[in-house]
Symmetry: D2
Subunit: 249 residues, 4 copies
């Protein structure tokens, strides 16, 4: 593997699916840290990347906990050095509750925000100093990038979806505010509206009667994120949507 | 005063401005409960409404605290009876921090969501059984209504505004999800994007070099909310924007 | 009838439904001109308003033809005088073609724009001098208002709907540009997204298995338009949506 | 040059800037037709692509004229064969009039729609049979793609901009309707919101006091379009925004 620079990448919310695909893609170019609550979620992908000649570490992290996030970034720097962060991808979502407003507990309602938004805020705050360091260095082929994974629920809030959609709407607000504040400092901030079912082991039984083009490929998302990352300072995309060919929208 | 029905109204987030104007407007037609954290915020308006022949009570309430909200609605029912709620207006917003993502504490960041969104959720959950009771009764001239006060930051998330805008984006998601779930049950849910400076004592010195049409009148907002409330089941408006004649947008 | 002022109103696109209801509502307060391509569309409502003690005229007008529009406004002024226009409502839409992109003729494709957008532009250009006259006079209880009737297709462009949706998207652009240019001059510009089936003779057989709350009442729309018109300069609503209680959205 | 397939590409609206950059990018992979009203707009780029070993032709075309568009596609097929169209980019915009609603002539007002929207419709209708042919063939590495160039005015309609913004809003409606109709048939339809000043000879004197990151690079746009084109059927992006690092939005 030819590491494109000494700056590193980090992905929060790794599991089979988008997180793993993004880790693989960015891990083929940068030393990369894989964050997930439980080690079993990242371990196979850490091993896979290292076996392929890359340099990956996994860190058990609760993104909704500021201390856990701080510790994770300290660990990354101690492992990968202080060249700064080339790319940070926030891919975590809170547990999903499909429930009436009348039936949600307070804890369930805030679960979406706590992970999708507060977690993204803590991750952003921890990543930004490292992204700004990369922005001011001339060693990096691409502007440092932070990408947030959104969903259909980032722009449409259906019945029974309030716990999830409030967190995703708020995440979009965070992404836009961060973009407006840090683009002039050279950090590329992007938000992706993933609109559809991602083709992962957990969704294997979904849409079974449909052709493969009814689901989103996680590799396709990772490629799109990489294309965002490689945009120059003159051409920043701040929002994309992604859906499979057969999605109704 | 001729009380139009025995159903009552409730306004959360009362202070000089929108809350007081809404209380006055709806209090001229319904028994009304005024909620605010501190009694000094609602007392003058409770007195004013009662002096004018209406029927108002004030209840010190922390909308971000579920017990406080539950107590408030129990008190309302014990005072005004169990005819149900004709109109519930959520007008509270978290304390405002104009700060960089890098400088916000975790507590400051979540303050917007805690009041604007979690508070609105708790308020909605507590108000809905009373709104549904009114919906199924034939005593009421207008469909029961819940209205949320949003802001420019509900649809645009500027730099340094993330604490406020994340709460307001998420509030809009809550409003849309609630509307989609409860409109078929006869509850009218509306979200208002208040885009501009409201003309209240606190903003007296703002835009001083401009004519009065540079600020929004709180009475105008209250009239708009009343017009939303009086819409029939065949004609629900779920979102309006409101700005003064001289606002740039 | 108590005419609220000598300024007059005008409605383009009159037929059974929104146009007639708006004519009735505004015609109870202002002398009013009803425009439609064919006289049979406005005649019953002209008669009805005059019989009720109002003052109405009908003018056969092709809104997509600039000469026809100019003649209409000259006729209005010669009939109602030069006090200016209190309210102008543009309610016309092009003929509807539900067709594939591949099957639309050029003529069919542009039909939406020609009526919904070019017609609205010609109507706006003709109405504005009369609206500005009213804005600068102190005789009028309400700021002069121009309201455009949009549709679901103003914000969502479905398959087979391109002829209709391109005209409605463009109408929304026209409304926003007009609002931004003329609000500072005292003209209230509003756009209404009518999302659902309006309950009119033509749609009698639609949604027959559903309760009445599955359709929008034209009177409800007219009331909403009147409420927009009576907003003061400090509190302009530039966009509302309107749907029946049972609409899926 | 290694031509990736025998299918060809076409770009409408070629001139120094986005059109030329897109022609260069797609012309390095596909035989390509460059359409512009006047030959001087495409000739230098046709020559450049052919000199670089590519295969390019230029066709003088008025996109707002259906016969002109039909002739262009017949010419393309007779030159490049009937393997179908791999990529079609619509980059034309009407002449720009920054004028009050009151001052625009009817001709000026419709100029935006006639090119940006009707032109796009005619182009789409002519390109689709060729795109569908490619979609059903197994010779092509990427799903056939049609991309429309939008602008800030596609989603924000400022004062004095109505001629331009009505055309661009309507173009966005056309893109969405086309995407929803033809994605299930394997055609990737994308709309790009270009938000900012593109760095071309004509804008050389604009933003002169600012660093290069204040303008969008046309090459960056072309790369983004290429990245859209190479997305697989499982991962279609239907809308992106593009702005330079220093753009205020």
């Amino acid at each position: 593997m030819a590491t494109a620079s000494k700056a590193w990448a980090v992905v929060a919310g790794v599991g089979p699916g988008t997180g793993a695909a993004v880790a693989r893609k960015f891990g083929s170019q940068y030393p990369i840290a894989l964050l997930a609550r439980s080690a079993e979620n990242y371990e196979p992908f850490v091993k896979e990347i290292n076996d392929a000649g890359g340099k990956a570490i996994g860190i058990s992290t609760d993104v909704s906990d500021s201390t856990s996030i701080k510790n994770a970034f300290q660990k990354i720097e101690s492992e990968f050095g202080s060249e700064g962060c080339a790319a940070a991808v926030f891919n975590a979502s809170g547990r999903f509750f499909r429930k009436s407003i009348l039936d949600l507990t307070e804890e369930e309602f805030v679960a979406g925000f706590n992970v999708s938004t507060k977690g993204a805020f803590l991750f952003t705050q921890a990543a930004l100093p490292h992204l700004l360091k990369t922005a001011s260095s001339s060693n990096n082929p691409h502007p440092p990038t932070i990408i947030y994974t959104g969903a259909t629920a980032s722009v449409k809030s259906n019945a029974l979806m309030s716990s999830f959609s409030t967190g995703k709407y708020a995440l979009r607000a965070l992404a836009q505010s961060t973009a407006r504040e840090f683009a002039p400092k050279g950090v590329h901030v992007a938000h992706a509206i993933i609109d559809g079912v991602i083709d992962i082991p957990r969704t294997k039984e979904w849409l079974k009667d449909q052709p493969p083009e009814a689901k989103i490929s996680a590799e396709g998302i990772a490629d799109a994120y990489w294309n965002l990352h490689t945009q120059p300072k003159t051409t920043f995309t701040n929002e994309i949507d992604i859906r499979p060919m057969l999605e109704k929208w």
